[in-house]
C-alpha cells in the first residue's frame, strides 16, 4: 500500500476506517475491530467484536453497557506501542476525560494522529494532552469557531459560588454530563474550598464512584434519592444530567436556580435553549485558540478536520499555511460531552 495516509484512511457510513490496522476509529455501528478513543457514548458504542482502548475507557464502557459490551477487549497503556495488522499502533493522552486518548498509527515511516476529543485547559481528573508531531493530524473541531474562548474553570466555578452567596435560599441545580464534566466540576469546587456534600442525580453516581476507585478525590457526595426532606436542599448544589434539569425530576427541588456547565453556554441562544439561568462556560474540548495552538505545536504536513465546525478550522489552517481538508463525519453528537 502507498505510504501516504490518504491511501489507507477512508470514511464510510460506519465512520473512520484505517486499512493498515484494519480497524474503525470510534465507529458509529458495531464492527469487527474498533479503536475507541474515550468513553463518551457517541465515540464508544457497544457490540464490536474487538475493541482497542485504554483500561479506563474499557472500564467505562463496561459500566455503561455491561460485561458483554464487546467480544474481546484489548487494554493498552498510554504510549505502549503494538503491531496491529500492518502498522504500529499506540494511544497517548488527550486531556479530554479520564482514560481519553489520541490514536497514533505509523506505517512505512508516515505517522498519523487521530486526536479524538481533546482539550488543553488544565484538568486534574485526567492526564494532559500530549503533543505528537506527525504527518497527518486529524483533529476534532467541536468548538471550531473563533467566538469560542473557554475561560479558566475557576472563574466559572466562582460564578456558581457567588450565586450561592447571593441566593442562599436557592437550590443550585447544575446540569453536567455524567462522564468527565461532572467530576471536573466537583474537583473545581473542591479546589476553591467548597467542602460541603454535593448532591446528585442517580444517573451520575456510578461514574463518580468509578473516578473515586481510580484514586480521584471527589469529597462527600450524596444521592438526592437518599435525601428525606427536599427543603434541606435550599442553598445546596445538586448535580444532574442536562436532560433532567428541566423535567419532572427537578420539580421536587426547592426554589431552584438552573445552571448548566458546557462550552455551548458561551452563546446566549444556546443557554436559552437549555433554559440555563446561570450559564457556566466549562468545556472538555479545545477552544479556538487551543485548536490553533495545537496545530502549530503538532505541526503536521496536513490537517484533517473531523466532527464539529470543520469549515472555519480548515480555513484557518490553510491561512496558516497547512494543507487542510474536512472529513465530514456525521453521527457525533455535539452535546454529549461538550
Amino acid at each position: 500500500m502507498h505510504p501516504h495516509p490518504e491511501h489507507w484512511i477512508t470514511t464510510d457510513q460506519n465512520g473512520l476506517y484505517c486499512a493498515v490496522i484494519d480497524a474503525y476509529i470510534d465507529p458509529l455501528v458495531p464492527v469487527h475491530r474498533a479503536v475507541v478513543t474515550h468513553g463518551h457514548a457517541d465515540h464508544a458504542r457497544p457490540g464490536h467484536d474487538e475493541v482497542f482502548a485504554t483500561q479506563q475507557t474499557l472500564d467505562i464502557m463496561r459500566i455503561r453497557y455491561g460485561e458483554d459490551f464487546c467480544k474481546q477487549a484489548q487494554a493498552l497503556e498510554y504510549n505502549q506501542k503494538i503491531q496491529l495488522h500492518q502498522a504500529e499502533f499506540s494511544l497517548v493522552p488527550a486531556g479530554h476525560i479520564l482514560g481519553s486518548s489520541q490514536a497514533i498509527i505509523e506505517y512505512k515511516g508516515r505517522k498519523l494522529v487521530v486526536s479524538g476529543d481533546y482539550k488543553r485547559h488544565a484538568d486534574p481528573s485526567c492526564k494532559p494532552f500530549e503533543v505528537v508531531p506527525c504527518d497527518v493530524f486529524i483533529t476534532e473541531a467541536t468548538f471550531g469557531l473563533p467566538v469560542f474562548t473557554h475561560p479558566p474553570i475557576k472563574d466559572e466555578i466562582q460564578k456558581l459560588l457567588n450565586s450561592l452567596a447571593l441566593f442562599p435560599d436557592s437550590c443550585h441545580l447544575v446540569g453536567v454530563y455524567a462522564l468527565g464534566k461532572c467530576q471536573r466540576l466537583i474537583m473545581g469546587l473542591r479546589a476553591l474550598g467548597y467542602n460541603k456534600a454535593i448532591y446528585m442525580h442517580g444517573a451520575l453516581l456510578k461514574l463518580c464512584d468509578y473516578y473515586v476507585s481510580q484514586g480521584i478525590d471527589l469529597g462527600p457526595y450524596i444521592p438526592v434519592a437518599e435525601v428525606e426532606d427536599m427543603a434541606s436542599l435550599q442553598g445546596e448544589i445538586v448535580l444532574a444530567p442536562p436532560s433532567a434539569t428541566n423535567d419532572r425530576w427537578s420539580r421536587k427541588l426547592p426554589n431552584v436556580i438552573t445552571a448548566m456547565a458546557s462550552g455551548w453556554m458561551q452563546i446566549r441562544a444556546r443557554s436559552k435553549q437549555r433554559r440555563a439561568e446561570l450559564p457556566l462556560i466549562i468545556s472538555d474540548h479545545a477552544d479556538w485558540d487551543s485548536l490553533i495552538t495545537t496545530i502549530k505545536q503538532v505541526n503536521p504536513a496536513e490537517v484533517w478536520v473531523t466532527h464539529g465546525r470543520e469549515e472555519a478550522l480548515v480555513h484557518q489552517a490553510q491561512a496558516m499555511g497547512y494543507k487542510a481538508k474536512a472529513l465530514s463525519l456525521v453521527g457525533y453528537e455535539e452535546d454529549e460531552s461538550s
Binding site: L145, P146, V147, F148, T149, Q266, I267, R268, A269, R270, S271, K272, Q273, R275, A276, E277, L278, P279, R309, E311, A312, H315, Q316, A319
Partner: protein, 552 residues
C-alpha cells in the same frame, strides 16, 4: 456602564418575572440619577437616537477579523452584537483605551454630542476597555436592539411596585398616562416614585394613551359569544392609530406610541382643534376611487371611494416627507372606531356603546371628508356572524382582514383585558410552494435551520415568493432541520440551498406586487400551514395561480 451591563446580562438569563423585577428594583435603589433613568429608557425602548449605526460596527469588525471566519461565526451565533462582542480585539493603532469604564449617562452624553469621527473613536475605546458581556450590552444599547424579556408594560409595572414602596398614590394606570409625556432620563418620574416630589405635570403635552387590544377569537369559544352582548365591526387592513388633538397640539401615533404625524401632512395640516378635540382610536388607511363592483359597501361614508391596499399604505408609511405626487396618488384617511376623550371629557370609564354614541354624534357634524366612522354590523345570531366573516374571506380585495367583536359593556382599558375585544380574522389564503433555501433561526432557534424561503413554478423554474419562520411544531422543526441538512446542495454564506423536493402548504393573508422577489410577488403574513411530505414538488402551485389572488 458596568452596573448596567451586569443588569442586562442578568435580566437576559433570568426567566422568572419575580426575579427580574427584584433585579430591576435593586438596580433602581442602588444606582444614581441620571444613570438609572437612561437604563429605564434602554430597557423600555424609549431612547430616541442610535449611538452608532450597525454599519459602523460591521466596518470596525471587518478591519479586525477574517471575513470568512466572521461569516461562519455570525452564521452560528445568529446575532450581530454577540458575534462582534466575542470576536472583538484591539489593533495597534487604535485610540488609547479608557482608564476606567464611564457611567451610563456619560456614554449616552458622549454619543449624543459627538460627531461621526468622534463617535467612532469613542466606540473603539469603549470596546477595547470592555469584556465580551459588556461589549454585547453596549452594542445592543447603542443600536437600540436590547431585548431582554422585559416589555415596556412590564417595566412600568415594576416602576409602579417600586413607587408603592414609597408612596401610596403611585399606580400603574398613572404611570401609563404620564409615560408618553415624559422623556429619559425620567428624573421627575423617579423623584415622584420615591415620594420626593409631586406627580409630573403633562397636561399641556400631546400624550399618547395606551391602547386597548383584542384577543384572537378561538373558534371553539364561538358558541359563548352572545349576540346581544357584542357589537361587530369590520377589521380593516390598515394600521391602528391614535389621533390626539387639543389646543396644545396634535399628533397621530402608531399603536406602540410612535409619532407618525410627519408622514401624513394631508391629515394633520387640515385638522383644527376647533372642530375636533380629543383622543381618537381608529384605522389609518389609503383612500382610492372605487372601480369595481364586488366590494363591501357602507364602510366609507362616500360610496364612490374604497379602502386602498395595505401595500399602498405601506408606501406612505415609509416616507417621512411624502411628495405631493405620492399624497395625491395615495391620499390618507381615518376610520374612527372609538374615542378615549372628546372635548376634554374623559370617556374611558363609559361603556363602549355610550362612547360610540358620543363619537357618532360628533362625527355626524364634523367637516372632514377623509374621516370616516366604523359602523356596527348587524348580526343577531352566530350564523349571521359567520356569514359576515365569509363575506370578508371571499372579497377580492384584501382591505378587510376579518371581524372585530367588542363587548357592548366594555370600558376602555389599556392592554388586553379578558372577554372584552376579539378579532376574528378571515380564512387565510393557501398555496402550495416548494422550499428553496433555508437559514438558521435566531435566538432559541439558532441551532436549527428554521427560516425557509419558498417559491412557485414558472414553467419549469421555481421563483421565490416569500419566507416563513412559523407555523410548525417543535417536532416538525426538528424534522425540517434534519431534512435541510440532508438535502443541502449549495451554500451562500449563511444560506443553504436545498433540493427542490419538499412542498409547504403556505397560508397567508394577501398577496401583493413587489420587487423584493424575482417573482414580482410578495405575501403578507406567510406561515407554514402544513408540511406536505407526501406531495411531489412538481405538483406545487404555479406563479399564475398566485397572481390570480393578487390584491389591488
Amino acid at each position: 456602564m458596568r452596573a448596567f451591563a451586569t443588569l442586562v446580562d442578568k435580566l437576559y438569563f433570568t426567566s422568572g418575572n419575580l426575579a427580574k423585577a427584584a433585579l430591576i428594583k435593586d438596580y433602581l435603589k442602588t444606582t444614581p440619577d441620571p444613570d438609572r433613568g437612561w437604563a429605564i429608557a434602554a430597557i423600555a425602548g424609549t431612547l430616541n437616537f442610535d449611538f452608532f449605526k450597525r454599519k459602523l460596527i460591521k466596518d470596525l469588525i471587518s478591519e479586525r477579523v477574517d471575513p470568512v471566519l466572521f461569516d461562519l461565526s455570525y452564521d452560528y451565533v445568529g446575532e450581530m452584537s454577540e458575534t462582534v462582542a466575542h470576536l472583538w480585539h484591539s489593533l495597534p493603532d487604535d485610540p488609547k483605551p479608557l482608564q476606567q469604564l464611564p457611567s451610563l449617562s456619560e456614554v449616552v452624553a458622549k454619543f449624543a454630542q459627538g460627531n461621526k469621527a468622534q463617535n467612532r473613536n469613542y466606540l473603539i475605546q469603549l470596546l477595547n476597555s470592555m469584556q465580551a458581556t459588556q461589549r454585547w450590552a453596549l452594542l445592543k444599547l447603542g443600536t437600540r436592539g436590547l431585548r431582554i424579556g422585559v416589555s415596556a408594560r412590564f417595566l412600568k409595572k415594576i416602576l409602579a411596585e417600586y413607587g408603592q414602596q414609597h408612596s401610596q398614590e403611585v399606580s400603574i394606570e398613572k404611570i401609563e398616562r404620564l409615560w408618553h409625556g415624559l422623556a429619559p432620563p425620567y428624573t421627575e418620574l423617579l423623584s415622584w416614585l420615591e415620594g420626593k416630589s409631586a406627580i409630573p405635570d403633562v397636561s399641556e403635552k400631546v400624550v399618547f394613551q395606551p391602547v386597548m387590544l383584542s384577543h384572537p377569537l378561538d373558534e371553539k369559544s364561538l358558541p359563548d359569544i352572545v349576540p346581544q352582548d357584542y357589537i361587530a365591526e369590520w377589521k380593516f387592513d390598515g394600521i391602528r392609530v391614535q389621533l390626539v388633538i387639543s389646543e396644545h397640539g396634535k399628533a397621530i401615533f402608531s399603536r406602540t406610541g410612535d409619532d407618525i404625524s410627519h408622514s401624513f401632512p394631508d391629515i394633520m395640516q387640515n385638522l383644527d382643534h376647533q372642530n375636533i378635540s380629543g383622543v381618537f382610536d381608529g384605522e389609518l388607511i389609503v383612500i382610492q376611487p372605487k372601480e369595481q363592483q364586488n366590494q363591501i359597501t357602507g364602510v366609507l361614508a362616500k360610496e364612490t371611494h374604497h379602502i386602498g391596499s395595505f401595500n399602498q399604505l405601506q408606501q406612505r408609511l415609509n416616507k417621512k416627507k411624502p411628495s405631493n405626487k405620492l399624497i395625491q396618488q395615495y391620499p390618507a384617511g381615518l376610520i374612527l372606531y372609538d374615542c378615549l376623550s372628546l372635548h376634554k371629557k374623559d370617556l374611558r370609564q363609559l361603556v363602549l356603546t355610550k362612547r360610540k354614541q358620543f363619537l357618532k354624534s360628533w362625527f355626524d357634524n364634523q367637516p372632514y371628508d377623509f374621516i370616516h366612522f366604523s359602523e356596527e354590523l348587524e348580526f343577531a345570531s352566530i350564523e349571521q356572524l359567520t356569514s359576515l366573516r365569509e363575506q370578508a374571506t371571499t372579497l377580492e380585495q384584501g382591505y378587510i382582514e376579518g371581524l372585530m367583536l367588542k363587548a357592548k359593556d366594555s370600558q376602555y382599558v389599556a392592554g388586553r383585558p379578558k372577554g372584552a375585544w376579539y378579532k376574528w380574522k378571515r380564512e387565510p389564503r393557501l398555496i402550495d410552494a416548494v422550499i428553496m433555501y433555508a437559514q438558521r433561526g435566531h435566538g432559541k432557534r439558532s441551532s436549527f435551520y428554521s427560516d425557509y424561503t419558498f417559491g412557485c413554478w414558472q414553467q419549469d423554474k421555481l421563483l421565490p415568493i416569500g419566507k416563513a419562520y412559523s407555523g410548525f411544531t417543535d417536532d416538525e422543526l426538528k424534522q425540517l432541520d434534519r431534512w435541510v441538512r440532508n438535502n443541502t446542495i449549495g451554500r451562500f454564506g449563511p444560506v443553504k440551498e436545498v433540493n427542490k423536493a419538499l412542498v409547504f402548504e403556505v397560508a397567508f393573508d394577501s398577496v401583493h406586487e413587489s420587487n423584493r422577489h424575482k417573482s414580482g410577488l410578495a405575501l403578507r403574513f406567510p406561515r407554514i400551514h402544513r408540511i406536505r411530505w407526501d406531495k411531489p414538488a412538481e405538483e406545487a402551485d404555479s406563479l399564475e395561480t398566485l397572481k390570480s389572488m393578487l390584491s389591488q
